[in-house]
Each structure stands twice: as C-alpha cells, then as structure tokens.
Subunit: 502 residues, 4 copies
Amino acid sequence: MLRFRALCTTGFLTQQMCQRSGWHRKSDLLRPFLSSVTLSQFKQPVAGLGMDELLSSVVPSLGTYETRDKNPPPRESQILEFMRYYRDLASQDKSVLLEKLASGYGADHELVADVGTRLLDSLQRDAATVLQIEDRLRYYLTPRYKVLLNYLSRLEGGVKFLVDLRADALDILESKVTDSPHIREMNSILKYMLSEWFSVGLLNLERVTWHSPCELLQKISEYEAVHPVRNWADIKRRVGPNRRCFVFMHGAMPGEPLVVLHVALTDHISSNIQDIVREISSMDTDEEAEKIDTAIFYSISSSQKGLQGVELGNVLIKRVLRELQGEFPHMKHFSSLSPIPGFTSWLLGALSSQAKEMSGSDIFTDAEYQEISEIVGSPPMESLKRLFSNNEWVRSERLVNILEKPLMKLCAWYLYKEKHRGYALNPVANFHLQNGAVLWRLNWMADKSPRGISNSCGMMVNYRYFPEDTSNNSAQYLATKHIEASEQILNFVSQFQKNSKL
Amino acid sequence: MLRFRALCTTGFLTQQMCQRSGWHRKSDLLRPFLSSVTLSQFKQPVAGLGMDELLSSVVPSLGTYETRDKNPPPRESQILEFMRYYRDLASQDKSVLLEKLASGYGADHELVADVGTRLLDSLQRDAATVLQIEDRLRYYLTPRYKVLLNYLSRLEGGVKFLVDLRADALDILESKVTDSPHIREMNSILKYMLSEWFSVGLLNLERVTWHSPCELLQKISEYEAVHPVRNWADIKRRVGPNRRCFVFMHGAMPGEPLVVLHVALTDHISSNIQDIVREISSMDTDEEAEKIDTAIFYSISSSQKGLQGVELGNVLIKRVLRELQGEFPHMKHFSSLSPIPGFTSWLLGALSSQAKEMSGSDIFTDAEYQEISEIVGSPPMESLKRLFSNNEWVRSERLVNILEKPLMKLCAWYLYKEKHRGYALNPVANFHLQNGAVLWRLNWMADKSPRGISNSCGMMVNYRYFPEDTSNNSAQYLATKHIEASEQILNFVSQFQKNSKL
Amino acid sequence: MLRFRALCTTGFLTQQMCQRSGWHRKSDLLRPFLSSVTLSQFKQPVAGLGMDELLSSVVPSLGTYETRDKNPPPRESQILEFMRYYRDLASQDKSVLLEKLASGYGADHELVADVGTRLLDSLQRDAATVLQIEDRLRYYLTPRYKVLLNYLSRLEGGVKFLVDLRADALDILESKVTDSPHIREMNSILKYMLSEWFSVGLLNLERVTWHSPCELLQKISEYEAVHPVRNWADIKRRVGPNRRCFVFMHGAMPGEPLVVLHVALTDHISSNIQDIVREISSMDTDEEAEKIDTAIFYSISSSQKGLQGVELGNVLIKRVLRELQGEFPHMKHFSSLSPIPGFTSWLLGALSSQAKEMSGSDIFTDAEYQEISEIVGSPPMESLKRLFSNNEWVRSERLVNILEKPLMKLCAWYLYKEKHRGYALNPVANFHLQNGAVLWRLNWMADKSPRGISNSCGMMVNYRYFPEDTSNNSAQYLATKHIEASEQILNFVSQFQKNSKL
Amino acid sequence: MLRFRALCTTGFLTQQMCQRSGWHRKSDLLRPFLSSVTLSQFKQPVAGLGMDELLSSVVPSLGTYETRDKNPPPRESQILEFMRYYRDLASQDKSVLLEKLASGYGADHELVADVGTRLLDSLQRDAATVLQIEDRLRYYLTPRYKVLLNYLSRLEGGVKFLVDLRADALDILESKVTDSPHIREMNSILKYMLSEWFSVGLLNLERVTWHSPCELLQKISEYEAVHPVRNWADIKRRVGPNRRCFVFMHGAMPGEPLVVLHVALTDHISSNIQDIVREISSMDTDEEAEKIDTAIFYSISSSQKGLQGVELGNVLIKRVLRELQGEFPHMKHFSSLSPIPGFTSWLLGALSSQAKEMSGSDIFTDAEYQEISEIVGSPPMESLKRLFSNNEWVRSERLVNILEKPLMKLCAWYLYKEKHRGYALNPVANFHLQNGAVLWRLNWMADKSPRGISNSCGMMVNYRYFPEDTSNNSAQYLATKHIEASEQILNFVSQFQKNSKL
C-alpha cells in the first residue's frame, strides 16, 4: 500500500484498481487446486451420512492445555465435505445443525469453573501463577466448535463460508422461532472472529469507475439499498464525473465489495436527492476540481449481513474523507444526505395516540390546524393518518405547503429526542452520531420518490462531518449520549416542545 | 541445543539465525522508502513526554462488559505517536516499555476471579446463565493492553508493527535478562492475534520470477537463510527454468514475503545441493515439462521472527505441492533436500564424553578405529574432535572415505533417536515430521560448502512427502511421537545401536 | 447490392450498417470521459480563424530531398488546435476541409514527373544512381498533407483522430456528392498508414469476460452488429461459460476494441443461432473441457469504419483458432455460423424478373409451384414477393415446409454462383472464403428473428475452417476465384441449375 | 491511455506500471501458440536448404497494381523458418543474405521508369489521371523484399526481428567492407518502416522504480552507456528518491526498454556527476517536493541500434519534461548534465598540429605557457599531449589549476565552433541543440572518473531546456544552424578566438 501510494499521488488507487487485467491473478494461480478439489472430491454424494455423525467426525477435540500446539488438524477433505453439506441444507435444517453444533460442542463448563476457582486461590501467589491460570482459563473457555470454525477459515472460500454462516445464525436469532443461548454464544464468537479478520488493516479501499469489472458494478448495483439503481445508465452516472464510489474489499473474499459508499462532489451542501441520482443534472458534465469544495455522502450500503456489528461503514467514511481531502485541494465540507427510515411509521403511531387523547394542538398551531381541517375535512387527524399511510397528501400542493413547518418540527423531535437505550432511535442517525457527525439540517421535499414519501414524508437530513471534531463528538455521544445538533434542528425541537405534550 | 530449538519452533531457520549473504544491509538501503511517509507525518519531536504518561494516555480502559461496544477509540494521532516513540527506542528501553505495558495494563485479576467463582455457582442453572457468565469471563480475561494492540492493528502499517513488537518480546524472553511472566503472557496474546490475521485464508500464494519486482527479489535474496544467495546472477537462476520460488504474501504487509519456498524440478530425488545452487548445471536449460516428475524443496525460509509459531511453512509446502501437481502432469515425487543444523555440535559433544569415558568403539568398528588412528595419530578421538572443529578432515580423501559409514550411522541416530520433549531434537527434522514427511535418505557430501561441513559434516537429508500419507503421518507423529523412516535410516540406526552405549 | 459491397470490403458487417441495439448513444454518455482532457487544454476559442489560413499554417512544407531529416516540426499547440477545429466542424464543412487539404497540399506533380524522367535516363547507369533516384521519387511522391497526418499520429489521441478522419473520407466517397480524385488519393494514403500501425504485431489479443471493465463490455454490446445484444444479462451470457469473446486492442487506441469475435464452444457444428444467443440453453452451465471439441464463430464485428480494408478480422480468427487449440485438448472442429445478408433482397429481385418474364418453373418444381399456388393464391409469384417483403410467409407452417427445399437451392446458388468482379457477391461469404474457409452447410430456420427472416429467409450458413487447408484455400480463392464448397452446397447448386435459366 | 491518465493525477503512470503483476498477460495468452510453434515447427533442421532457394521461396512477388489487394500471403511456417534461418547465420553470412535479398528482390526499375514517363505525359490531363499514375508509381517503387518485411512484421517477435535486421544492415554499412547501394536502400526502407511503428503515439512512457520487474532493471543497468552502473546498490539509487528513471516501451517489443532517461531532482543546476551517481550524497534522503525546482537529465541511452535515426530520445525528453511539470508544482528549471565525448581526442589532434606548426600561444597566454613549462618541462606541448593521453595530468593539482581556464576556452570553442555539415560536430551537443536546448554552462572537474577524464578532460556541459523556447530554438538550429548559447560559453569562445589561429 505504501509503495503504491508513493506512485499515485491521488493516494487512493489500490493495487487492484490498477491491476485491472490482473484482477484474477490469485484465482488463476489457484485454479488447478480449485478444480482438482472440486472435481475429484465433490463428485460422490455424501451418501446418507447423518448430521450427528458428520458433526462428530469434523469437530476436533480441544485437547489439553499442555498439548495445545500438538492437535492434529482434521482432514481437509472432511471439512470440504462439511462445507458442501451445510451449503446444500434447507434453511430449517441449517437451524438444526447450528443448534446441534453450538449446544453439543461448547466449552467444558465444569472444567472452566474448576480452573476459575483455582484462580481465586492463586491470587495471593506470584504473578506467573496467576497469569498461567488465566491463560489456562482463556484456553478452556474456547468452545470446541471454535476449533472447527478456525479450520474452516483457512480453506479457500472458508472466510466467506463463515460470514454466510453467521448471517444464518443472525436470521435464526431474529426469527425468534427459538431463543437459543447457544446460538447466541456462537454468534458472539463468530462476530469476534470476523472482527479480527475484517479489521481495518486488512481492508483494501478501492474506487469504482466505469472501467471497473462489470461483475463488481453489477454487485454494487444490486447491493444499493438506499436509492435503488434502475439500470446501467443509472449506475454509470453514479460512478461518473462529479461522483465517487468507494468500496472496501478483503483479500479473503475476492470480488466481493463489503461496504459501498457513494459520494457526490458539489459546491454546496445538497438539500435533495433528486439532483444527485434521479435526474440528468448539471453534475453530468466535466469535473472542475477548482469548484468542488463539498463531498456529499449520499448512500452507504453494507453487502454482508454476516458482518453485522463489524465496524466497516464508519471506517470507510473516515478513509474516504481523507482520500477526498487529498484529491481536491479546495475540499472543505463533508456531509451526508441521509434518509430517515421509520419517521412516517413513528408519525402514524404518534397520530394514533393523538387521535385518541388530544387535539392536534400538540403538533399544529391553531391556524395550521384550521387550514388542514379545511383541506382534509373532519376529523383532520384521522384524515391525515390515512393520507400519510397512502402517500396521497403530496398530491395537494396546499397540503404540502401547510404541512412543511409542522412536519419538520416533528421530524427534528423524532431524530433528536426519540431514543433507544439512551442513543438515537433512528438507526441512520445513530450510525452518523457514533461516527462523530453533527445533526445538521432537515430538508423538505428532499426525496420525492414514493419510497422517500413513505419513509419520511419526503424529508432527508444532512449529518455533517467536521473532520477536526468527529473524534470528540463520537466519544461524547458514546459516553454521555449527547447529540451535537445545529441551530436549525434545535430551533425546530424547541418550537415543537413548546406546544407538545409528547 | 535448547536455545536453538527455542529460536525456531517452526523448525526452519530464520534470517536472524544465519549470517547474512554479504548483501548491503536492508535497513540502510530501504530507509529512504520506508520512512517517507513516517517522516512527513511526525516532524515534531515528542518533546520530553515520559514513558509512563505516554502509556497511560494511549492504553484505553477495557470498559464494563455491558458497554463493551461503546468504548470510544483512542485518538489516531496519539497511537501514531506511540508507534513512532516505540520504534525510536533503544533495545533496552523497549524492554522497559514492554514490561511496563504488560505488567501495568493486564487483566483485572480479582474481577476475573470473582466472575470465575460465580460460574461455579451457576453451573446448576440454565444454559443461558452459564454461557453469559462464560462470555463475561472471556471479556474480563482480556488484558487492557490488548485493546491498544487491537487499535494498533487497524492503522496503516500496524500489523507489521505488531509483528516487530512480538519479535522484540521474543528477544527479551530468549535473552533471559529478565524472566517476565507478563511479557510471556503478552507474547502468547500476540501470537494468538497474529495467528488469526495470518490464517491461511488471508495469505496469497505468489510465484516469484525474474519479472517480479526487484524489491521482492532483493528481499528474497536477503532472507535466504539455508543456502545464502551470492549475487544477482545466483538469484536469477533460482527463479529461472527448472526452479520454482513461491512466497506467501499478506494484504496487511504489502511487498513483504512471509515465507519463501525454493523448489528444484528434476527427474530424481536430489542427493546434493551443489547441483541445484552452487554450480551452473544442466538445470539452467529450457524446461521440459514431460521429463519433470520430482519436486525438491531445497530451501524454506521465514522472514518474520514475530510470526514464530504461526504455521506458515507447512501450509506453504502443502499449497505448493498442489500447485506443482496442477502444473506438471507427470509430477509424482516430492521431497525436501534439507540441512542438518546442529549435527556437528552434537557430534563434538558426543566425542568429548567419549574421549573421557571410553574408547572409540561406540562409534567405530575396530578396523575403522585402527585406520583412523593411522591417519590422525593418537589419541584419535582428540584429533578427530580438533579436525571436526576446524573442518580440516575434509582435506583428507582417505579420512573422508573411512568416516562416511560411521558418520552416516551417527547422523541417522541423531535424527531418529535424539529427542526434545519426545519430539525430534533437530528442528528441521521436527518441522518436516510434523508436516507428515518421512525421514527418507541421508546423503554423504551433499553440501560441501564450509557452512555445510560445519553444520553437518557435509551431510544432508531428504524428507519425503507422500501426499496421500502426510495427514496420517503428521497426526501420528504429533500424537505418538512416532517417526516414519525409511529402511536406509532404520538400518543405520540399528547398525549403530549394536555397538553404541549412547 | 453493389453499394452494400462497397461498404464492407472486409466482408463483415460494421456497426454503421446495422441498427443500434437500443442502448444509450455512445457519444452522449461518454462525452464526459472523453472530453476531460480535451477541454482543459483548449479553453480559448480559435477566434474566427479561417479554414484556409488554418490549413496553410498547419501543413508543413515537404522540404527538399537533401534536407529531409531537418524539417522542423510544426508547433504542437497548432496541431492540437487543428484537431479540435476539425472535430467541431459540421459534416459538410469536413468535406470542404478534406477537399481543400487533399487537393491543395498534394505532391508536386511536375517535380515528380521530372524525377521520373531522370530515372529513365539513368537506367543504363550504376545501381547506386538508379536506387538514389528511386528514393528521391518515393520522397517527392509524398503529398504534403501526409506530413501533417504523420505529425497528427504522434499526438495523444492522434491515431484515433486519423481513423475517424478516414471514416469521414470514406463517407464522402460513398455519398458520391462529389467524386474527388484527391480525396480518393487521401483515403488510399490513409489506408496505407493505418495498415502499418494496425499491423498484426502491434495488436493485442484479449479475452473479454464478465470481469472485464464495464466500459469495454458496453462497447462490445454496442458494436455487436450481427446479433444485437438486448440487455446486460444477454451480454453476460455471451462472455460466460461455453463462450469466448475475443477482441483485438491497439496501444494507440486504449479501451477501444477494434474487432470483436464471439465464439460458442460446443460438441457439434451448430445449425442455428437460437441455441447460442436467443434462449437460455444448456450452454449456460459449467464448462466441461472434456466434451468441447468444436468452436463456432457466430459473430465477428468491426468497430472502426476508418479501418476498412485493414485486415483485422481474418487475423483475429486465425489467432483465436490457435488460442482455442491451446486451451482445449480435444478441440478439432472450427466453423462459423454466419448470416447471409442480402439474400432476401436478391431473391425479391429475382422474383421480380421472374414475374415479368417467366413462370415459377425456374425456381420451383411443378408440384411445389402447385402447392404454393394453393396456399398463396394467384399469381403465386406476386404473392410470394409480397410475403417475402413483409416476412408474413413464416406464419404459415405449410408454406415454410414447402419453401424449404427451393429456398435452400436458391440460396446455395446465390452464395456459390453470384459474383462481384469474379469473387463471391455476398460479403460475408467473400470474407470467409478469402480466409480460406469452406462453404460448408446451409441451415434452414437457423435465425428465426425478424432480422434473420428479413435478411435471408431465416437461413444461416456455416463456413468451415480446416486449419491445415486454410492457406491453400485462401490462395486458390484469391488467385483463381475458386470456391471450395461441400457436397451439400454443390448438390443444391446443381439441382437448381437443372431447372433454372438464371 | 486517456482513461488511465484520468485516474492517476501524476499523469504518467502507464498501464504496465500499474499492472505489475499482469506484466506478462499478453505473453501468457500467447504461450500456447508460441510453444506449440516452437516445438512442433522448429525441431527439424532446415536440412541443407540453400540460401537462394530459401529467398526465392519466401519473398512474394509484388503482383500487379490492379490485383494489389489479392496477393495471397506466404505460408507462415515458411516465414518462421526464414526467421530462424537468418538468426542462426554467422555474421558474414547475414551480409551475404542481405545483399542477395536487397539486390535480387528490389523494385522493377524499368516498370517504374515506364510509369514515370507516363506521368509526364499525363500532366496536361485531369487530376484523376495524374493521381492514379502517381499511386501506381508509388506502388511499383515498392521493392519486392518490402513485401517480405511487411509479413515479417506481423509475426510474434517480427518487429524485433526487423529492428535487429536493420542493426545488421547498419553494421554492414559502417564496416565498409562493401559499399552496397542496395543495402543502403534497404536500410532506408527499414528506417522508414520502423519510424511508422515506433511513432510517438504507439510508445508507452513508463517510470522505472525499485518495484519494477528485475528483468527490466537488469536491462536498464546493462544499457546504461553514459555512466556505467556498477552494481545493484547503484541502480537502486538511480531509481530511488530524488531521481526519476523513465523509459519508452513499445507493444511490439514487450519487456524491452527502447530509450532510457535518468533524471536527478535538485534545487540547482548540477555542476558535476559525482553528486548524482558516484557518491552517497544528500540525494539519498526523502524527497521534499517543496524544495525540488530543477530536473537534471544526466543520462539518456538508446538500447536498440536498429532504431538509429528514429526519433525517440528527443520525444522522451519532451514527455518527461511535461511529466515532471505535472508532478512537481515548483519545477522550473530543466537542464542536461552531459558528457563531451571526443573532446580529448580533438584536443590531442589540435595539440599535434600545434606541436608541429606553432607555439602554445594559440591556446595559452604567455603566463600560462610559462607556468606549464615549469611543471611539465620542455617541450611543453609534447609533454601535455602525453599527459592528456594517459590522464596523468590530473595528478598534479597545480596543473589542474593552471589548465582550467585554457581547457574551458578550448572546449567551448570545440562545442560551439567545430561543425559537421554545418551542425555541431559533437554528437551530444547536436542532439540537444536539435531538441531546442541552449548550450548553457561548461563545468570543470565535473566527471572525475577515468572515463570522464579520458573523454573530456573531466569537463561536462549543461544543455538547458527552456520549455517555451525549445520549439523556436530547434527550428532555428535546423534551418539556420544557429547555436543558442549562454554568456559563459560565448565569452570563452571570444577569449579563445582573440589568441587562436585555429
């Protein structure tokens, strides 16, 4: 990386970007291996091997602490068989297998407890003894299945296998069909392992352009979750002039973008998404580096559910921020243009309770309430609920105008005051605040797409990044849960607070 | 011998163990490249910052189990400062710092002991409780300094920093100036961390040729510990026709070959190293894939002391074996041609005790002993000791002939019977036997270089790899310490055993 | 038909000949990329500079033969200005400029004639004198504008500029608005220059896959003239398993595929295009190298009109043939599956003359004629003409069946007997026959697309390549105009000949 | 190229530099072809095939003008055979073959003369006729052997073959064993062909670093003609910090640098070569882009004799100049630091004539002459000649001091006044003056190596490039032979002129 940086003064070209044609070097080298294994080892079916037998044959024993470096590895062919077996299982059978694996091959609790007790006794003794017992404790706390997971990680495609396996575990935990403490433990173990492998030092930052491999651009189009890509002309613009698209790649998962960040390069803090992705705009012209002073992060998507909780997005934002500062001499402003998923739902909930207990006076001024009544008829709160549910309200220009102010206040309140365990309830807000951004500006009619109206009544919000403050902001938010917000937001909140009984 | 073993538990020689090849020193010549980034970022000196203050400012607290995902990271600039500070320390100051770090920022033993005790109480309760306490125990067993190490690993160059830091820790433990249990623990923690990052799935196998970057070929020349590279013509041959040179690279240490394996492609199991690296030979012609059926692993070197104990060499051999099977349709035989470091030392030791307590009859037949006396004068054992010490014996053809048989027997005995904790004493033997190779054939006058004579009286040994047997052999050796050996070896051993009282 | 032939003397279809695939226009979307360099360098307008002044300022003089190595080059900035000026001209202004350039800056005819005369006088003298005069003659035969063209070729993008300029010249010559002998000369000079630069040794063969840059795949989709690409899933298949897509690239036109060859890998000589590009077929599975013994060249497209007459397609076929022999051990058969553009037109023309002068007996047997009459009514030839014009005939299964035999005969005749200057009239036939292929097999209902029906009543033809015979076949065809054809073709022709008075 | 430039703001990274590992992509793709041809076709010796028979079998006939596009190509196998045959010939046999080829397969002089005469007759007629006859004339002026050369150029390795063949032709012409007008013609034809292929638009500029392939660095070391590379540490410095090494590569000769330019990056116009290549200097530290404002071209070497006269060096200098302006914001000064080969020889010649005809007063002032006499004894001119011949004079510090002034004057005179056909006699001076540089500054004791003393009494000279003036200077020099020189040079010249009778 160092070497390459010295060559490319833009500083962000990664090896893989420039080695376009060498793209598959690694896999070329491996081809003989891959195909030989594939063909010779996988041709025969596993012929009725039961799940229990399979597990007991592939999960190695942990061995004693004393012989911990001398455990013979399991046969590679067996583990490859296990991988194939697992991949071919139906979803519910995967659940069964994971439960068997997690509960049947855990740590030896009595042994752990025994060593734990010995630790207490040793505390009066010398450091060497204490440390040795602790090391022993660490060792015996390793679930037996972790030995299998470790071997899996070493095979071609093994890391990806574990990422997918963790996605399965998360699905099980989320589905709540079963509340398995063992699968919860396995999920936690896997998250820890993946955090090690996907640590920042092992990630490659790459810029995606129209010259990148089609396979990569196809994946990026498919993974785009925030503002769906409509066609190839659309994705071509998103990697074209006045845009940047960056991804994190990982050596163990070649060709697989882990997180994708889309940036628009502008001369102002964008107030709506239409200018960026929806319409052919003034952006589709030559880049003029002299005029560009603002970077708008308008989409960040993660592609691997199995990497949930492994911090990638925030690191990508930080790295990209530095890249852009390096590339553009006048780059000064950094901001997201973010969706507010869940606001409309929250609003509908609020309106429901409103409807029951109180007048609209919590939300609207008398004048507003009066005008709304005129437009939607009575009872206005009920009508509004219906209009918000089906996006019909945006058809009335008058309604859109009268609702702007109150909805902005409501949304500011929602973002600033609604919490989950003390942190911002809205997940996008929580993500950017953890990163150290400032809750900066609400924008009206910023996303006019049906999706934008459904999610957040068409509003979007800028989370602004001041590079010199992000560390402090982040630490403060994490420690004290304080949200750094702009005047605009705080004014909206206090205006709302005056009236509301929420 | 113990010391030797401690140096290379993987069983192959590291750079540090061997004298350099006379090439310009790496550190001198590479400094301009290496430091370009470093210097520009750290122009200001750390201005009298004390070590204790520095440590307390950069080592984060562990945080409670409950808030374990909410710990704010330390400032990146501080950690970069710490890296620079540490790199510039003198060797003894590094010891001081590591001791302070390891002992002052360890786990909270009382807390651990407390949770450990709670585990015992919980064993009667439900699985969820047990697993939750175990998870808590795992968490509190994390030394505080590991949080720092984790942050370090995420910075540009951080993984390499930790590899070097572990090399320092190993130096301290080997030097025995201090026997610090804390540094021993830190070494163990680091080894575990590095094992995760340098797991096989994250390693890239690359073939090195004359078209590879000069920087890489220079490093490979410098790292070659087994048969030193004399000049660029020499290294050009070693990556030329009828040879293969493979390395493992890692994304977090770009441009840095971690293990290097040199292979000669032949039609027989090579019996001496001269044909391969010393002299211009029939090998330096075009490759004829049709004739090649044997791969001789004639050198394997590790470049990073800090990765000691992280299995790389054996994996590299396995991968290369498969590569070669893929490339050459007729490839059938795989064998090392290995040095026997330590044999001469062991022999001198044996002769010393011989000289004192007994006649040469343990080692030599009467006829041999008689003839040796004639050549070297009396007392023959004393003379032999002297001649082995200064390599003079090889000048006498007669002596070389008469010694062939007895030295071969002695060396077979040394390799097969001399043990350390039950495993082969000779580190190279132990390495290949752990990999599942067979102790195959001793070769007389196989390495006539002064180095070869000094190490092993000019003998080399083939460890042969039978792909279908390696798994079993390896497991058997690790579990039962059984050494799989050929007839030749076993015959030598039993012949020796008849006479010897060793 | 004549016009058609003039368009494609290489014998394969160019982009311009065919309707586009409906993709967004290249010129619109790529402008941001292409012009980034251009714009930054040429901010100032050329401010009213007249065409004559411009030409006289940029076309250097030829200089005398004696000082031919000492001519100072024109200013680069002027030539760049000229490039921009030319590119921005409207089509008719380009014509004017090219005419001015070609006629106003040609060779000095009197000087040439003078030297030519001197040559005659010198023939009796020594070789040195003769050769020197010839060299002088060669020199003075250089039109002055060629000096400009040479300088142009040396600038970034200059070769592409000349390729486009020649395309303009070809357009002028084809449009016949003017029959300029000067532009004809310039075209010939340009063709010669381009032939040098695009000579085989300077072309790079590249395989295109789904990992190739999106830009390249977009271009290949757009350039596909034979079987238009419908969407990205379609192009993905065409570079996927059981296919190969090769292009020739050239260093002076990076990112620009010059010729594209699509190959299907099969176990038989394909008899229809539907299996290959239209429908999801058994081809979209893993490749089984063992089963593949046939390569079907099913599309070859040239992308640069300006390279007309520069042999690229035939060389690409030869190179690809060797590539495939290298990749697939069992590869034995090579054949095109080619369209027959112009057959339907030719048929309609034939029917017209038929209708006037004769009964259908030239074409159909009595039984056939009878049955056709029953189906289409009277007069049958008139009805047939109408049905062939609007593709309606394929809706009648009965008609399709009854027409198969006669149309196959007619088409065989068309391909084998219809000539232009003694060579095959059909351009695709002429292309493959020049390459040394054999006119192998007509296939009924081989292209059921509207386009296929319109072009050739749904027929396609295989031109088969026997690697060992292509050289001879090609030489024979070029020298004697003999067409090597299979039994099937010859039988059809002779059957037709019996009846026909054509 | 365009695309890539957009990515790398330094603007000079070529595809190959970044695609380090893809370096052999092309040849990989071609390997199947190459090896199959090599093995199957070249195994058998050409078995007594005579040279005349071979030539007559491989040189195609030119064909008539009318059928010029229909000539069947020769068999590829025959041409490959010819290439092998020629390569294996001894040097004198190559001469014979080239003479046979050039004289036996030239143009048809009578036909040319005939057409030439017709041209004269046609001058009164229409343009179409004139141009058509000229085209015909051009065609028949093509020597038959050029058809062969064209075919050769299309084969793998063919361009390189022709480059080497021209080097052979140049050797023959230089050796003067024979003065063949035919080989002179062939040389001229080849030069023209090569000029087309090696035109600037087809050359790739690449920067060489320590990360470049070893093979490339080895070649650059070997080709370095100006200041020989001593070892690998030396070449490593020359591609290290504060240096740049650029090469031109060509697609048809992969891995073969055509011209190499070494640049030192400084803050002043270097006055000696010792600081740059001989001694470890302050240059071997980190680059500080802020301080660098001067680029010193201290070595330019061409590697292919066969490309003599094809302008590469001057174009490389211009491109590099632009590269460096792009990379370094403060780059203002450009200058060579050049050797003065031939000065000492010229001086010895001058002294010889001096010794015969005159006193030293032409060269030295009386005081100088007096002091020299004291040091070297009488007759001083004879002694000086001897001392200049064997480099002994530099051992006397006194002599070095007294000679500085007169030798500088002499050398200025030599560079500025000594001519060959009106242009500077010194070839290095002529090269830079043709490029538009200014004869800037003579430097005393600028190259203290034996080679430097032998060539030019230790002097070196700066030719300075003022980017805005080079075009004019170059044109002026070529047209009027005027040398643009600095005050220092002009003063030396006029001081010398006062005394001298030279």
